[in-house]
Amino acid sequence: MKTWTAFFLLWVASGGVSTYVVGRGIGKHNLSLRRYLPWTAMAWLSFSAVAAEITRQYLTIYPFPLMLCLTAAIGLMLLGICSGWVAGWFIGGDSLGIAADAVAGMLGSFLTGWIEITLSYNHPSYIFPLSVLGAAFGTMVLRLWARAQLSFQESGN
């Protein structure tokens, strides 16, 4: 239960931080996330519960110490933040800000790394490159979505 709670809180916190930062970026452009918030929160809470359960099951088979797991999670997040920044700089153009790029990268890297660790049959050497790509993917998706929102706003609708 302790493992499940720790990972559930980790997922919820990462989702909450991402929503807060992206929401702030959107707020600067006079747009609002409120419309999507209840649905996004519900989906994310459900996902966090499932993800925490998968992680718990994984740790019953490979009993790594909890501290090691949390350190790895923080490592993935830092890797994602750096990759997100770099990807955001490379993509350029309209954005919701550097912080939004970083959290999108963080979430992308965290998700990809977690999937590769718990659900994949690949070798551990795949985790690092795929987490970097996951971070870049997260940032790209956020920027594409943000551009669509901003162009929608500019078109006067």
Binding site: E53, I54, Q57, F90, I91, G92, I115, E116, L119, S120, Y121, N122, H123, Y126, L130, L133, A136, F137, M140, V141, L144, W145, R147, A148
Partner: protein
């Protein structure tokens, strides 16, 4: 009489614009398509003869565990066995080389094609193996045509050219047509043509294109029923686009569905009469489902439980008959799901990941042509980036590619994933990957040009 509203005109003009650009360039399309098709064919045939891949089919399986009747099983596995049975006058039967009676284990088109070759070039001969593999190569080479036209219509000429030449010369795409007697290359060609016809369908006026689409869906269904997974979504896309253009959508879509079912009907009736039970196209889903889903399974389909690998299973198959055997294992599979729903959900999630990241290759014995999972990722990762980019930029047809790429593997998420199952959607994945590569290249050039110029000079250059 249709109403010419401004929105209709706007939407139609977008469609027409995309089509006219293709029509204008049509004569210049022929040359790259023709050359890439010829190159693809020559290179694939070269692999067959250089590496003698036909010998993989004609090898005799000699082991005390293998009955004498199944020693030709390496020749196309179930496909080859059924085709052999048909060619020797025993009907569509005996999928494991051993006389076991009528079957619906696999769909009929590809074994039917093999029968024609067996009748002309002999049963399980080297000549037959070469001809069937060469036919696979022809299907693979012809796939250049839908790849080019799809990429041209959705993303433009640069992506189209890069896609066909990558398909033609990249060794990664040559494995299945040159080494396996199975319908994978034909499936890839059929799916490519189906997506292409679906892309054109929203602006088609006559019934001709819908009749053709229905026939092709029917043919695809009796070649590889997994392709049908994408059908409802592609038809829904056509209906939605036609509705947006204020064109009639119900009748054309119904035409496609009816003709498709009409195409499948004879096979359905044959199964009912011969097997004594209604069987849609193939009857082995329950068994394949069990192979990937039992307590303690890794979800990757343990072939040690397959009649092709296990003499006890083959005996059980003979005893119970095909439908009884499949029903037996289907019940076991479903019982596992009822008793261990969490484990089933976890296995399904693992299979979804494995289908895309290629992790399954770490659990397969290295054969003649073995891949590493990073090689599979080299296609999947840029394809997903390309898909996100295409959807983000609202490219017409991007949603169609998304449906095909994401929904075709659904049966494999439930059963088990093998790398050859991905081949049917590899043309679409390649187009998306090439689109991403082109977009990345253009963006990188632009990005570094902008950095090397001062802001004022850049503004000037941009003007």
């Amino acid at each position: 009489m249709r109403t010419e509203t401004p929105s209709r005109l706007k939407i139609e003009s977008n469609f027409r614009l995309a089509e006219s650009s293709v029509e204008l360039h049509w004569p210049s399309c022929i040359s790259p398509v023709l050359w890439s098709t010829i190159t693809a064919l020559v290179l694939r045939l070269g692999i067959i003869f250089l590496f003698h891949t036909y010998q993989l089919q004609t090898r005799i399986l000699n082991s005390k565990w293998i009955p004498a009747a199944t020693r030709h099983f390496a020749f196309g596995f179930e496909t080859g066995s059924i085709a052999g049975s048909l060619a020797s006058g025993h009907g569509f039967s005996s999928p494991f080389g051993f006389p076991t009676g009528p079957t619906a284990w696999i769909a009929p088109v590809y074994p039917g094609l093999c029968v024609v070759v067996f009748k002309i070039f002999g049963l399980y001969t080297t000549a037959s193996a070469i001809v069937i593999l060469s036919l696979n190569c022809v299907f693979a080479a012809l796939t250049c045509v839908p790849i080019y036209l799809l990429a041209l219509r959705i993303f433009g000429k640069r992506t189209a050219t890069l896609s066909i030449w990558t398909w033609a010369v990249c060794v990664f795409f040559m494995r299945w047509p040159t080494t396996w007697i199975w319908e994978v290359s034909l499936s890839a060609l059929l799916l490519g043509v189906l997506v292409l016809l679906s892309l054109d369908a929203p602006t088609s006026d006559g019934q001709k294109k819908f009749v053709l689409l229905g026939c092709l869906w029917g043919f695809a269904a009796i070649t590889n029923p997994s392709l049908l997974g994408a059908m409802p979504f592609l038809l829904a896309w056509i209906a939605f686009q036609r509705r947006r253009c204020l064109r009639p959508w119900f009748k054309p879509v119904l035409t496609v569905v009816l003709i498709c079912f009409g195409f499948m009907l004879p096979w359905f009736l044959r199964n009912w009469v011969v097997m004594g039970h209604p069987v849609f196209i193939r009857d082995n889903f329950g068994f394949e489902f069990y192979l990937g889903n039992y307590h303690g399974s890794n979800g990757l389909g343990y072939l040690g439980k397959h009649p092709t690998q296990n003499i006890k299973q083959l005996r059980l198959y003979s005893q119970l008959g095909e439908l009884g055997y499949v029903h037996h294992f289907k019940s076991e599979g479903l019982q596992f799901v009822r008793e261990h729903p969490e484990e089933f959900a976890l296995l399904t999630a693992r299979r979804m990941v494995t289908f895309w990241d290629g992790g399954m290759v770490n659990y397969q014995s290295p054969g003649f042509w073995h891949w590493q999972s990073w090689e599979l990722l080299c296609l999947a990762v840029p394809a997903f980036f390309g898909l996100a980019l295409a959807l983000g930029q609202r490219k017409r047809g991007a949603l169609l590619l998304a449906f095909v790429v994401l929904l075709y593997p659904a049966p494999y998420y439930l059963t088990y994933a093998e790398e050859r199952y991905r081949h049917a959607i590899e043309p679409e994945l390649l187009i998306l990957a090439c689109y991403f590569a082109c977009a990345l290249w253009e963006h990188a050039c632009e990005r570094f040009r902008r950095q090397s110029l001062s802001p004022a000079a850049y503004e000037e250059a941009a003007r």
